[in-house]
């Protein structure tokens, strides 16, 4: 009995303390309020709607009045093999993106460091950053004007060199590569800045000492620069892994979304969700796939965050 009393008292004290702390933090809470309202309105409010994935959606009855059909919507997508194909494509693309993004960005950053002329470096960095600033709609326009076989720039060049023009828009084969290249084109400028900064952060004395010791350029990169980039690389890689089932809808849709000849090998989950919500108008199926995607992503992030917490506690997100 006495023990319980003490416990109760502790709880009360704890509560009081929490109340007091909340009161003390009231200004900070108020400062957070606009953002909290924002997230409630646009991120949390739609969540109950996920239920649509489990019903046979009827417009008039709304999401919660429609007939519950359990996992049937999931079965409909899974049975035709689409789910597996979409998951596979999305993950493969992301794996390739993650690996190449980092590889190219690290290379670029290292080489950028080798550039001695400050003006040259600045101008080239500005140029490399440009693609990051444009909308995916424009990316679609640019790619089309370079690759199409009638008026495209690439074919103009090939033709002027006497080669056989390519017909990229009727052949799905090269598109996974094209999309990857476009992605790299767009993102490398940005990604390399992160690594460039990390290299700049390396203690210059260590590098100089190594040079005095007679290390050559390659050795310098191999034994000093790369190891010092390791934590950055690892962290960025891990977090990228968390988003491995999320695709860049804007890029895919504007490059190949409207052309069924092209999209089959590059069809990702987002494209399917968009097509079936919108073109085939299947709210429930689309949401089922969306939910499946969120769940996998969620598990991935929790796992990755758990690993990060063990390896580099400072870097964990929560």
């Amino acid at each position: 009995m006495a023990g319980k009393k003490i416990q109760d008292a502790a709880v009360v004290r704890e509560k009081r303390r929490l109340g007091k702390r909340l009161f003390q933090g009231r200004t900070l809470i108020l400062m957070c309020l606009p953002a909290i309202l924002f997230f409630i309105a646009f991120s949390y409010m739609p969540l109950p709607g996920i239920y649509v994935a489990f019903v046979k959606y009827n417009y008039r009855k709304g999401i919660f009045g429609s007939k519950f059909i359990g996992l049937q919507n999931f079965e409909f997508v899974a049975q035709s093999g689409q789910l597996w194909r979409l998951t596979k494509n999305t993950i493969l693309f992301n794996l390739v993106f993650i690996i190449l993004d980092n590889l190219v960005a690290v290379t670029t950053a290292i080489l950028l460091k080798e550039i001695q002329s400050k003006a040259f470096r600045k101008v080239s960095q500005t140029m490399m950053f440009l693609p990051y600033f444009i909308s995916q709609v424009l990316v679609g326009v640019l790619v089309f004007n370079i690759l199409n076989s009638d008026t495209g720039f690439l074919n103009s060049v090939i033709k002027s060199l006497g080669g056989e023009p390519l017909s990229l828009y009727k052949n799905a084969g090269p598109w996974p590569v094209i999309i990857t290249l476009v992605h790299l084109w767009q993102k490398t400028g940005y990604n390399s800045v992160v690594y460039f900064a990390a290299i700049m952060g390396i203690d210059q004395e260590v590098i100089e000492a190594s040079l005095v010791d007679g290390a050559n350029g390659w050795q310098k990169i191999r034994f000093i620069v790369l190891p010092s980039l390791r934590p950055t690389i690892v962290i960025l890689l891990l977090f990228a892994l968390g988003g491995i089932v999320k695709g860049d809808f804007g890029l895919f849709w504007n490059l190949v979304g409207r052309n069924p000849v092209l999209y089959e090998p590059v069809d990702i989950i987002e494209m399917f969700v968009y097509r079936s919500t919108i073109s085939n108008f299947n709210f429930s199926t689309a949401s089922a796939v969306g939910l499946y995607q969120s769940l996998i992503g969620f598990i991935m992030v929790l796992t990755v965050n758990g690993i990060v917490k063990k390896v580099e506690p400072d870097y964990s997100l929560f």
Binding site: P46, I134, S294
Partner: protein, 307 residues
């Protein structure tokens, strides 16, 4: 900033004699960076040049990096319709308004979440982060926006959902982390309230962060086309990128964009018109970039690496 200068001065004053391998790597560096940089802007040059090229030349000979016959006809077309100015006005208003409001919301929360003594720090951090993990998807979102909020055919459907995001708040939080906690403490000792500390002491130190996050927000607004396509069906004036999207994807809206001009459609420069529109819709953000680049690059560095 100081640190960066130190590094720069190091670069320009190598004290050690370089070997062959160093020169090879350096050579590779120049070549690779040059080629890559040129590849990055080449498509823009092509679009720019082709927007000044005659339609006949584009159709017959393809796009080019230098106009074979110079004409400004496509641009005249783009402007004559007049509606592009309205799209400009709309895009600028929404971008400025959204960025300013968004920055305020983001920086306030970013600051609060970084305060060690904030009681809800962990709860709210997860509250924010969770939104990037779990999304309801298109259908519930669409129904909520239209049925519950009635934001269809309202420009608020563009402005509000892009005000902030878990990503920029985390970015902002990381920036704030780089500001010593002592500054907040000193404010406290002076008796300043939390909001005043934020406004007077912290905000001025966050300039690179504000520039970076602001640029991200502004980019988000400027490049927006998706929400337009969902919610602005009944609006005559749409954001610039959606305008481009419609012009690229559909012949009839190309004609609409210059409708009422007594144009003989047969010589409507459709290809070059698309490119002129592309240039017009993208130009401002490109011109803006070099001015904010310094902050931006500094900003990403702090936000991402020290994260």
């Amino acid at each position: 900033m100081a640190k960066k200068n130190k590094n720069d001065s190091m670069d320009s004053a190598p004290k050690v004699k370089l070997g062959t391998a160093d020169y090879i790597i350096r050579g590779i560096g120049y070549v690779f960076i040059s080629i890559f940089a040129i590849l990055c802007i080449l498509p823009f040059l092509i679009i720019l040049a082709s927007s000044f090229e005659t339609e006949a030349n584009i159709v017959a000979k393809g796009v080019t990096i230098w106009p074979r016959e110079f004409t400004t006809r496509a641009y005249e077309m783009v402007f004559k319709g007049g509606t592009i100015w309205k799209s400009y006005g709309l895009t600028i208003i929404i971008t400025v308004l959204g960025t300013v409001i968004g920055l305020f919301i983001t920086s306030m929360m970013g600051y609060a979440l970084q305060r060690k003594d904030f009681v809800l720090k962990n709860v709210l951090s997860f509250f924010v982060y969770f939104t990037s993990l779990f999304q309801a998807g298109l259908a519930p979102y669409y129904l909520l926006m239209t049925q519950t909020y009635h934001l269809d055919n309202s420009y608020l459907a563009i402005l509000l959902p892009l005000l902030t995001s878990s990503w920029v708040i985390i970015l902002m939080k990381n920036f704030v982390k780089s500001i010593p906690y002592e500054i907040t403490e000193s404010g406290k000792i002076d008796g300043a309230g939390d909001f005043m500390i934020f406004l007077k002491l912290i905000l001025p130190m966050l300039t690179p962060a504000l520039a970076t996050v602001g640029l991200f927000l502004a980019l988000g607004y400027w490049n927006e086309w998706y929400q337009d396509s969902l919610f602005l069906q009944q609006k005559e004036v749409v954001m610039l990128q959606y305008r481009l999207y419609k012009i690229v994807n559909e012949a009839s809206s190309l004609k609409d964009s210059v409708a009422g001009q007594f144009v003989d459609y047969s010589d409507l420069p459709s290809e070059s018109l698309k490119m002129a529109t592309a240039m017009m819709t993208t130009g401002p953000i490109i011109f803006l970039y070099p001015f904010v680049q310094r902050y931006f690059i500094g900003g990403i560095t702090v936000g991402a690496v020290k994260g």
